[in-house]
């Protein structure tokens, strides 16, 4: 059996899958049902002074027939009385002592933070997550992302929490900033035991073109909300990887943002996360997805001969470097497999209009001296069958951009094959160091 349990900044969890703070962790009844199904932990929906919500709160973007590729919300923190939340948290922890119960908090003044931390820790919870990320509503009142966008305030409030708390402090960061390094370092400087990111990305998902009101429509108005779900995964991966790479961080990271499957989770762990938090996928499919998450991750680790999930954490971090450290002499070219190609020719138009004009239909002439290994066969097959539609690649002109392989509807039909260049590794930064970082044809030529 593969070991899935993790120790996250002192918080023990039987597996790395936590429910993120949000509607799925709004009540004890919900969290207990999730724990029954096997979730390793839960971050309780942010508690603070109760608020009033509006009706009509979510908007979404679909990707073709795939619904809710991106989900946007304008819901605020918990609207339930504090005492009720605290009582239920205590109950959950009592019934599930081995699961990680973390409580998300949001307050304004130092005194309020002191008081809520004291009362929250009385529940027996395992840790606290400071919500410095909510990008709508709460930030207008000086909380949420209003804090997360000011490194100085992050540092200050984190330090208060450290002063008052006995359990580990996780600072949840907002992505609505220009560089995640600054708020990440500020939290660590303030004493955070761990970081979690990303919170939602400020967004509008669409506009009702009959009423001329953006979504979600609240009466005749709307407001910008926070985007989450599969659409935000690339942004979250970038930010988690950036912090995992940064030498000044050095605390564990709980990754949040578009994680739906075990593969998403494994990718976040490889790029530096110790635990992952999931919300949108649960809102879409329910708590039952935990079965596939645990099973998929276990099988993957077993296939890769890893005994514990800890062996996965950070495995891809060394390969994440600045652009200037990439090998300028590495080269790939596209190769279209004529046996699997279905002849849609989307690659032809994509390369022609959107890339570097090096994919040709069968029968086209090869430029003098150019390398196009599949051209002759394509011409012969066209001669035998006038309906033959498989294109070929001029390898001499191909820059290896990957576009054709990305748009090809048939998996693995277009592959990018490495080309031996006989040239040693050379990066742009090396050229700078050697003084050869000059490309002719510029402004000063």
């Amino acid at each position: 059996m593969v070991e899935l349990s993790v120790n996250f900044a002192g918080i023990k969890s039987p597996n790395p899958f936590w429910l993120a703070s949000g509607p799925p962790t709004n009540s004890g009844e919900q969290v207990m049902r999730a724990f029954d199904l096997g979730w390793g932990g839960a971050v309780w929906k942010t508690i603070g002074d109760p608020i009033v919500n509006v009706s009509s709160r979510l908007g979404a973007v679909d990707a073709g027939d795939f619904r809710m590729a991106g989900l946007n919300n304008i819901e605020l923190i918990s609207d339930r009385p504090l005492a009720e939340n605290l009582r239920e948290i205590a109950e959950v922890k009592k019934r599930f002592p081995e699961r990680a119960v973390v409580v998300s908090l949001m307050m304004e003044s130092k005194e309020d933070w002191r008081e809520i931390i004291r009362r929250t820790e009385d529940t027996g919870c395992d840790g606290l997550e400071l919500n410095f990320g909510c990008p709508h509503g709460m930030c207008e009142r000086g909380m949420g992302s209003a804090v997360g966008q000011e490194p100085k305030i992050i540092r200050e409030i984190t330090a208060w929490a450290r002063e008052f708390a006995k359990t580990p402090i996780i600072v949840k960061l907002t992505p609505n900033i220009t560089d995640i390094i600054e708020p990440g370092r500020a939290a660590v400087e303030g004493g955070a035991h761990a970081l979690s990111l990303i919170n939602t990305i400020k967004s509008l998902t669409g506009v009702d073109l009959d009423k001329f009101v953006p979504y979600p429509v609240v009466g005749g108005r709307s407001t910008s909300g926070g985007l989450c779900g599969p659409a935000v995964k690339p942004i979250a991966l970038h930010m988690v990887g950036t912090l995992a790479k940064d030498a000044h961080i050095g605390v564990p990271i709980s990754a949040i943002g578009g994680i739906s499957t075990w593969r998403d989770a494994a990718e976040f762990m490889a790029i530096g996360a110790t635990t992952v938090q999931i919300c949108t996928a649960v809102m879409h499919y329910g708590y039952r997805i935990i079965e596939g998450l645990i099973d998929g991750l276990s099988n993957y680790l077993e296939d890769r001969r890893m005994k514990s999930v800890s062996e996965l954490i950070g495995r891809a971090v060394p390969a994440l470097v600045d652009w200037g450290e990439l090998d300028l002499n590495y080269r790939v070219v596209a190769d279209i497999n004529p046996d699997t190609c279905i002849g849609c020719q989307l690659c032809v138009v994509a390369c022609d209009d959107g890339a570097h004009q090096c994919i040709y239909v069968a029968g086209a002439e090869v430029k003098r001296g150019h390398v196009a290994p599949r051209a002759t066969e394509a011409a012969e097959r066209l001669a035998a069958n006038p309906k033959y539609r498989v294109p070929w690649v001029d390898e001499t002109d191909c820059v290896g951009c990957n576009l054709c392989a990305l748009i090809c509807p048939v998996p693995d039909c277009i592959t990018m094959k490495p080309i031996e260049t006989d040239k040693p590794f050379e990066s742009w930064n090396e050229r700078i160091r050697k003084g050869t970082a000059v490309v002719p044809g510029g402004l000063h030529d």
Binding site: G64, D65, I342, G343, C344, Q345, L346, V348, V349, V361, K387, R389, P409, V410
Partner: protein, 455 residues
């Protein structure tokens, strides 16, 4: 059912129709007992299917369509929620896009060339998307086309089926004045009178025919060229003539006992189902034969099964392998319970007095008697040689079809063009529409030339 939309359309737009004879469908017809084999897509279904289309470059489906509809473009418009635009893309290539969406054998035309089949994935349901794209457009009577300024040229068209209507529509767009002469009392030809009811019913075909005519096409209903008006006077009174007369009636088997009750041609049978007030099945037809191996025979067999006839046998003189009917239609008919008697030829129809008893059938080398209460002859349409021979200077081929230049539809009489089932080629609505449109464009060029250069 469609009746309501049909009558709604009639009330709203009948005054625009320049028809010399009015017509109406009975409110209760046999065909209304059939449910649609492929109902109109819901929005969500259409969107899902449209999103599957890859939007191929230089798409093979366009090349496979006789009317060259820009299929990837109209499907993409559906996917983008631009239904109006999708309908325009379809109808500007094929004014019969709606009925083609319901009756076109896309599985052997456009969809057969869909690249997805090599994935392998099911090809796009192109015909169903056609129908989805155009149905609401037609029902709302939205107009996209407007005629060019009048040229003063008058063209007579023989028959009001898809070939003539497509030709007339294109001629009207180009500014000419088309007049159609139709011997029946409904426009739309076989589209109205002989499409299997589970594919399309007569009121829907009329909806489309009227939509097309509403651009300003005159139809003289109940007027047969060669009987009520002679060809010579057409050529005198019109600048050009288009023959879209289709084929003749049902072919007879020419065996003893064929004439009499209980034996009917397939076209006559289906016309009854579709356009007359519920014809009697004499209450209890237990055994029926359908003679023939084409798509009309298969349609007739499936209709009998769906009307509740318990034993339906298709009597075909060759084997299933070489049957001209589409394989998927044969499979569907068999799934519905049709028996197929291969290499079987009726040698005599047996009667007890006038009453039908059955038929003597030679199966391979053996002759058997099989009882039957109804025999439908679906052994093809006769070529309308007699009607066509009245067009002076128009040469017919050995099969009796009008010889045309395939690029223009021009006959051996340069003032007469022809298209559709009266001419050689596969007998399909989509082909007739392509013929009609192509002929209209050729006639337009000829008429402009004669206007410039004199006759």
């Amino acid at each position: 059912m469609g009746e309501s939309s049909y009558s709604r359309l009639k009330q709203a737009q009948y005054h625009e129709l320049k028809m010399t004879k009015s017509y109406s469908l009975p409110t209760e017809r046999w065909e209304q007992r059939f449910s649609e084999a492929q109902p109109l897509y819901t929005d969500r279904e259409a969107l899902g299917e449209a999103h599957r289309c890859l939007y191929c470059v230089d798409a093979p489906c366009i090349k496979a369509c006789p009317t060259a509809i820009d299929i990837p473009t109209f499907i993409r418009k559906i996917a983008e929620g631009n239904l109006h635009g999708a309908a325009k893309t379809v109808l500007s290539a094929n004014i019969f896009g709606y009925s083609c969406g319901r009756v076109c054998p896309d599985k052997v035309l456009c969809a057969a060339s869909c690249v997805l089949k090599d994935y392998p994935k099911p090809p796009i349901e192109i015909a169903r998307l056609h129908r989805y794209a155009t149905e609401s457009f037609l029902r709302e009577g939205r107009r996209v086309f407007s005629p060019a300024p009048p040229t003063g040229k008058k063209i007579a068209l023989v028959g009001a089926g898809p070939a003539s209507l497509a030709c007339a529509h294109e001629l009207k767009l180009l500014g000419h004045e088309p007049s159609i002469f139709e011997k029946h009392h409904f426009p739309g030809g076989l589209n109205t009178m002989s499409i299997a009811p589970y594919k399309m019913q007569a009121d829907d075909a009329l909806l489309e025919a009227e939509y097309i005519c509403n651009i300003g096409i005159e139809i003289r209903m109940g007027v047969e060229v060669g009987r009520d008006i002679d060809v010579k006077s057409l050529l005198q009174n019109y600048d050009a003539v288009f023959i879209g007369a289709g084929m003749g009636g049902d072919t007879k088997l020419q065996v003893a006992g064929e004439d009499g009750p209980g034996v009917i041609g397939a076209l006559a049978w289906i016309e009854q189902i579709k356009t007359t007030k519920r014809p009697a099945l004499n209450g209890n037809i237990q055994r029926a034969f359908v003679v023939g191996g084409g798509n009309t025979a298969l349609d007739a067999a499936r209709e009998l099964l769906q009307l509740g006839v318990p034993h339906v046998t298709m009597v075909y003189r060759r084997t299933a392998q070489v049957m001209p009917g589409f394989r998927h239609e044969l499979d569907a008919a068999r799934r519905e319970g049709m028996q197929l008697l291969e290499q079987a030829v009726i040698t005599e129809i047996v009667r007890d007095g006038p009453r039908l008893k059955g038929a003597r059938i030679r199966v391979v080398d053996e002759e058997i008697f099989m009882p039957a209460d109804l025999i439908i002859m679906a052994i093809g349409q006769s070529i309308g040689r007699e009607a066509l021979s009245k067009f002076s200077g128009v040469e017919l081929n050995s099969a009796g079809e009008v010889q045309v230049d395939p690029a223009t539809g021009q006959t051996s009489n340069r003032r007469i063009h022809a298209g559709g089932d009266a001419t050689p080629g596969i007998k399909l609505v989509v082909r007739a529409v392509a013929d009609g449109k192509r002929a209209a464009q050729a006639m337009h060029r000829d008429l402009l030339q004669s206007a410039k250069g004199g006759k």
